[in-house]
Amino acid sequence: MTTVLTARPNLPVVFASGPVTTSPAGPWRLAWRRFRRHRLAIVGMVVIAFLASASLLADVLSPYNPTKTNLLEMLDAPSVAHPMGTDELGRDLMARILHGGRVSLAVGVLAVALAVSIGSTVGAIAGYRGGWVDNLLMRLVDFMIALPSIFVLILLATIYGTSPVTLVFVIGGLRWMGTARQVRGAFLALREREFVEAARCLGARPSRIIIRHLLPNAIGPIIVAATLGISGAILTESSLSYLGLGIQPPVASWGNMLRNAQDQMTRAPWTAVFPGLMIFLTVLAVNYVGDGLRDALDPRKIGSR
């Protein structure tokens, strides 16, 4: 468990090898070509697209209200009326899976988006400015890393409650340090390069240099880390659910559905199988996509075959 909940600090690693021009069509097209070759990553993309659109279309796909209880149909096995069966309050499991997907996916994606935004900003400023700013920000990163994250996660969830929004902030706020270190490392290496020097001589403002010149060159590893981070965030949400600190009822998330299935696994295995399968498929798919992206966006891999 520790591994899911522990922010894994990455070493400063310098990725990009060559400058990316302001017209990035070339490298992106190359990357896409490389990505396409990773068949499982493509499958993963399809799975994610499928799950995401199914969740978005939940209301269309399932006629049931996910929070509508029906105590006369508690723990019904899968049938034509309820393709995935019903749960311990007689609610349609498929409706809950679909609606729960919105929550689980949204929490995963948004938490990572938050983490990447914080991480890139901190890393970019530290790496570009250097000096005392860098020092200060890196001490902040050290500080965040020194916090035993699972313990802090539990404390924060206790204090601020467990609505989807707070979960996004809590999970995202504890997972950005790796990105910050990566981006800083990349920037430290890049900022002395000729094309940056050139931009600086031409009088470009720092923000412009960072956004137009440096970030595009460091974006590969950020995207890879972000993708893989999504699976971590989804698992974290489900782990918090296990401890009773996940999304509050009656809102469904895959994590709290799985936790609730605990008591009735022998009597109603379907209540456990479907949410488990959803988490499994999503995380697996995300991991494959991340793997494919790594192959595609990490220029070191060029010529690896």
Binding site: T2, V14, R139, A146, P148, I150, I279, F280, N287
Partner: protein, 335 residues
Amino acid sequence: MVLAATGEAASPCAFASLMGAYVLRRVAQAVPLLVLMTMVVYALLRATPGGPMSMYEADPTVTAEDLARLRAQMGLDQPVPVQYGRWVASLVAGDWGWSFVTKRPVLEMIGERLPNTILLMAVTFVVTLAIAIPVGILSAVRQYSWFDHVATTVAFAGNSLPTFWIGLMLVMIFAVGLRWLPAGGMYTLGAPPTIGDRLRYLILPVVTLSLFDATHYIRYLRAALLDVIRQDYVRVAYAKGLDEATVIRRHAFRNAAIPLVTAIALDLPALFSGALITETIFAWPGMGRLFWEAASRVDYPVLMGIFTVASSLVIACNLLADLVYAWLDPRIRYG
């Protein structure tokens, strides 16, 4: 990140003195970090609604007068900064405080749980590496072979289910269903201790944790090895006519191990803070559960103790990781 074959460090003596200064500086940096950490955690703890007095709520004989007295006896009637100051002062004097609930020294309570956690995590660690290293190497050497595909898939799958789910399933199948293994605990109660008995109780939690952890190291090692294998000196080694096993062992693995070792060092703190969820599922009396129990009873002294130990370990292991990294890769300078 191109890692050259390990060359000679400038001079052992200069290296040592440089390193000494570096370590000193890092330790000096760590102290304010720790102080800040304890302050933030203390503030966080005190921001949680409720508090240690809630343990008396079910008891109608505990009157407001009793509660006021108990608060004063626990020092909770003082302003929070004063309480924090007292806590730090006694910590510096070597007193980690006494639990509100057990009325025992915090350090003693941590000391009881730490060996259990270390045992579980150490065995997990060994098993994890025993799986990850050969699989990682084979995966890299035979990139895109069927073995690589199977290993990658299994590794991904193991990483795609919540740990608690894997743990619960293992208990359902192997303990409740088949009754091959015990559902939880560290040893058979009331029976003479034997190594075999201890091992039986270790199997399920270790499998649960290793299944998850091995994945990370397999992927780490595979990526690092793939990187190294492409380097010129490995090609040169092949060209010299060395067989593959030798090349991998002598050249490639040694260099690929650098990021792996660093990653391991960074994961070390987890060995001490325990695996909360796995410990909960398998009734393993470790640090994670101590934290969870203390958190649910709002036992401030114990919580602060655990945070301090855990954070110190994270800081120490980060330092260790950097040192190992520098030692393995002499191009890093202590700037």
